[in-house]
């Protein structure tokens, strides 16, 4: 049984999702997304030398936030809107922890909706990718 809209309460937190993507995972993401910016895999790329490391794709974190929200929704509905800002870089082989909380729950035009505040944080607890999502529940 997946969670229903009635089970959702404002302020409730979402189950965390933690990843530690290494270079191989980032290469798989590059292939899956088509984003071959060398910033995310090539240690000889000038921008990488300037930063001192390759960095995790912002869009990998965005997609991971999508996975985090869809795991919580459990196929009992769909995401209507998901957004995030890339405020800080994340480096490979470091923890990326998705967190979130229900900000609002309401009904509109017969749809059962919820808005969740979401973010990724690093090992130091800094929120590098804050965002939000609006989901509609089937039941």
């Amino acid at each position: 049984m997946s969670m229903t809209w009635n089970d959702v309460s404002e302020g409730a937190t979402l189950p965390k999702l933690e990843k530690q993507p290494g270079v191989s995972q980032l290469v798989k993401y590059a292939a899956g997304s088509g984003d071959f910016n060398p910033l995310h895999h090539d240690y000889n790329f000038p921008q990488v030398k300037q930063i001192g490391s390759i960095i995790v794709h912002g869009r990998f974190k965005y997609a991971t936030l999508g996975e985090f929200v869809s795991n919580w929704l459990g196929h009992n509905g769909r995401i209507k809107n998901i957004s995030c800002q890339y405020r800080g870089m994340d480096l490979p082989d470091q923890p990326i922890i998705c967190g979130g909380a229900v900000a609002r729950k309401w009904e509109e035009n017969g749809e059962k909706l919820a808005e969740v505040e979401i973010w990724t944080e690093n090992a130091e607890g800094k929120k590098t990718t804050p965002g939000k999502a609006v989901v509609v529940f089937n039941s």
Binding site: G32, G34, F36, T64, S70, N71, H75, I82, Q85
Partner: protein
């Protein structure tokens, strides 16, 4: 890096609102699996068509934030980003540093493997911001509308911010 004199010129502003030619994005079982694997999904609905159908989907659902894979044609597609590079309005800013600023996707329908989408992009906004480490930065917002070719309906809109410095 942008110098202190960097500003948004009339020429840059001319790119705002100019629509790109339409480009085809395909959502296939293989492309959904590849994206889901790249993100690290373990949920079988993104890999196994039977599991997807049992969960109520037509086929493998496009994972959140995935809007299909642009058809790649050498010379017409960006070798780096795989997106079309012919006819897309470009902002002539002369800056070489690039970072992703943020992304918002609005979904009007569930997208699934088997869907073929037409994407049209336009630059919707230009802003200048200052950062302590990067100095003056140009923030461009690119808005892309995705239309399902079979139904003719808009299924998603994405707004993506790029930071040039």
């Amino acid at each position: 890096m942008a110098g202190p004199e960097f500003e948004i010129t009339a020429e840059m502003k001319q790119a705002i609102g100019v629509a790109s030619p339409p480009w085809t994005y395909e959502v296939t079982t293989t492309s959904v699996r590849s994206f889901a694997r790249g993100v690290g999904y373990t949920d079988p609905v993104y890999f196994d068509v039977d599991a997807a159908k049992k969960a109520g989907y037509r086929s493998l659902p496009a994972p959140p934030t995935y809007l299909g894979t642009p058809v790649f044609i050498p010379g017409q597609s960006s070798d780096t980003f795989s997106t079309p590079n012919t006819g897309v309005p470009t902002v002539k800013h002369g800056l070489s540093g690039l970072l992703d600023g943020g992304t918002e996707t609005e979904y009007l329908e569930q997208i699934c493997a088997g869907d073929t989408l037409t994407a049209v992009s336009k630059v919707s906004d230009l802003q200048i911001r200052e950062s302590k480490s990067l100095g003056k930065m140009l923030i461009t917002t690119m808005e892309t509308t995705f239309t399902n070719q079979a139904s003719g309906k808009v299924v998603a809109t994405q707004r993506a911010q790029a930071i040039f410095y």
